[in-house]
């Protein structure tokens, strides 16, 4: 019978997106990717459903982009849709929560559209 005490602690499995972004070697780009990955990871476990949902949608669409199932125009269109849906939510948050919500949603979307997506396309 396996003993719980003997179980090895497994590292969380890298997502498909993390594996792709992990291949970046350029230091300045790698720093931006690290910031993006950290923010996305925080957003994915946030207590607010809308923030989690936004992060999951964004990750799914970045993977679709990398696989060539959607193109950059489609990706940008979806980012704009996500922003439109989020603005109402952020405006409805108390002032002290707005900055954090904005960082985990609109800011992540911005980095994804301007830095991550072009990098993923260059890797294809």
């Amino acid at each position: 019978m396996p003993s719980a005490g003997k179980r090895k602690h497994k590292k969380p499995r890298k997502s498909e997106l993390d594996s792709a972004l992990g291949q970046v070697s350029d230091e300045s780009v790698a720093a931006a990717m690290k910031e993006f990955q950290d923010l996305l990871a925080q957003a994915k476990v946030d207590t607010t459903e809308l923030i989690r949902q936004n992060a999951e949608e964004l990750e799914r669409r970045l993977i679709l982009l990398k696989k060539g199932k959607i193109d950059k125009e489609d990706f940008d269109f979806f980012v704009e849709n996500q922003k439109r849906a989020l603005r109402v939510f952020i405006d409805s948050q108390p002032a002290q929560a707005q900055e954090r919500a904005e960082k985990l949603t609109l800011h992540v979307l911005e980095i994804a559209a301007t830095k991550v997506a072009p990098l993923l396309l260059a890797m294809i």
Binding site: E57, D74, Q82, A85, V88
Partner: protein, 138 residues
């Protein structure tokens, strides 16, 4: 009539009138809200059907049919906004119209160049369902 009895009658009638007004206005609000929900569901069905019709990989782009459907959608949204009795819903309908406009613009651009993919259609429908669910407070 005893002045006290008369006073009690006036108070009782005033209370009954106030209660009747409150009950009637609540009923009207419920009817307006459910009618408004049905309107939003009807717009959702229209927009999903629009995507199903035109976001089809490999399908020849029919400009006339596309324009006719966009015009039909514009008329439906404008009518819904104008007829909305539940005033808090008007900005929501305006947001839904903005989504329809964005979908139509993107679909026109992609379909006219034969660049529709199954993933595009599927993701567009997910966004439509999401924004309509938010509009309905779900």
């Amino acid at each position: 009539m005893n002045p006290n009895t008369a006073k009690n009658l006036i108070v009782r009638n005033a209370f009954l009138c106030a209660a009747a007004i409150v009950i009637t206005s609540c009923g009207t609000a419920t009817i307006n809200k459910s009618g408004s929900d049905a309107q939003i569901e009807s717009l959702r069905s229209f927009e999903l059907a629009f995507i199903d019709e035109f976001a089809v990989p490999g399908k020849r782009f029919n400009v006339a049919a596309f324009n006719a459907k966009v015009n039909e959608g514009n008329a439906k949204f404008q009518q819904a906004i104008a007829n909305e009795k539940f005033t808090a819903r008007r900005p929501v309908l305006i947001d839904l119209k903005a989504q329809f406009d964005a979908d139509a613009t993107h679909l026109r651009s992609k379909a006219s160049r034969g660049k529709i993919t199954p993933a595009l259609a599927s993701e567009m429908k997910k966004d439509v369902n999401k924004i309509y669910d938010h509009a309905l407070g779900r």
